[in-house]
């Protein structure tokens, strides 16, 4: 009997390592896939997509993807599109920061309070988008 894998929304952060913005993108993605929308979402390694891993490419081509980028260079979105992935929505931490100017995230390795808070705000927006995509 042939089994069909349940479709999921794939949430892919840039995980940029130089600034807090990249860490916030990563934390927001985990908040969605491990907490807010566990079961209907999953994440995968962006590096595997860019290095052309066959299984990972298949995953992003056959499921809707949401990219989460730290900065305006939008590496996650660019890399997923280049790989032929189905980018249904894209988010940027810088935009969330503009809307929440009182938050000043600074630390990179382990997020400080403001970084955590911003990641939760962003994760809620991503979760709403997941709901829209799942309903379609």
């Amino acid at each position: 009997m042939k089994t069909t894998m349940q479709k999921k929304v794939i949430v892919i952060p840039c995980s940029g390592i130089g600034k807090a913005l990249g860490s916030i993108s990563r934390e927001a993605a985990y908040e969605v896939v491990e907490s807010l929308r566990k079961g209907v979402t999953e994440t995968t390694c962006l590096a595997l997509i860019t290095s052309g891993d066959t299984e990972t490419l298949q995953l992003v081509k056959s499921n809707k993807c949401i990219t989460v980028d730290g900065c305006p260079l939008q590496c996650a979105e660019k890399n997923v599109r280049l790989a032929g992935g189905d980018v249904a929505a894209s988010f940027r931490v810088v935009d969330a920061l503009k809307e929440n100017r009182k938050l000043k995230p600074k630390t990179v390795t382990f997020l400080d309070h403001d970084g955590q808070q911003l990641s939760v705000i962003l994760a809620r927006d991503i979760a709403k988008k997941v709901d829209e995509l799942v309903e379609k």
Partner: protein, 138 residues
């Protein structure tokens, strides 16, 4: 013109989101940058590097790099070799654990005590490699 720093080693981590070892590679790299060898190292954002960041590619072409990968797929090493040049050294987290493959538990998001100890061990190993690379710098 690209503005390159003087005598620095680039540490490139895969930061793989899909497994615990990817988070360990990331945390270990940051430990080196922030605590162990802050004046001797810089990091390069792998997704930007792969998306065509000219400054990142130029750095890796002319300066020594150390890649830090979570699993045996070695995306950071493969990407560096493909777009710039052979890294001076390559570290794979699963080589240090003896457990091949990519694990999803206990948590990819927040490292537990055991994983943090492993990250520190990986960071020490990166720092040793940085010292070796600088010793042979020409």
């Amino acid at each position: 013109m690209v503005d390159l720093p003087e005598k620095k080693v680039g540490v490139i981590s895969c930061s793989g989101e899909g497994c615990v070892e990817g988070t360990i590679s990331r945390v270990a790299t940051r430990m080196v940058l922030e605590q162990l060898r802050p004046d001797q190292t810089v990091t390069i954002c792998l997704p930007l590097f792969l998306a065509g960041g000219e400054e990142e590619r130029a750095f890796a072409r002319y300066y020594p790099t150390i890649t830090v990968d979570g699993c045996e797929k070695k995306c950071a090493k493969v990407g560096t070799e493909r777009y710039s040049g052979k890294p001076a050294s390559s570290i794979v987290v699963t080589d240090l654990t003896g457990n091949p493959g990519c694990s999803k538990s206990p948590s990819r998001r927040q490292l537990d005590r055991e994983a943090l100890i492993l990250a520190e061990k990986v960071a020490q190993r990166i720092a040793q490699e940085v010292d070796e690379v600088l010793k042979h710098w020409r």
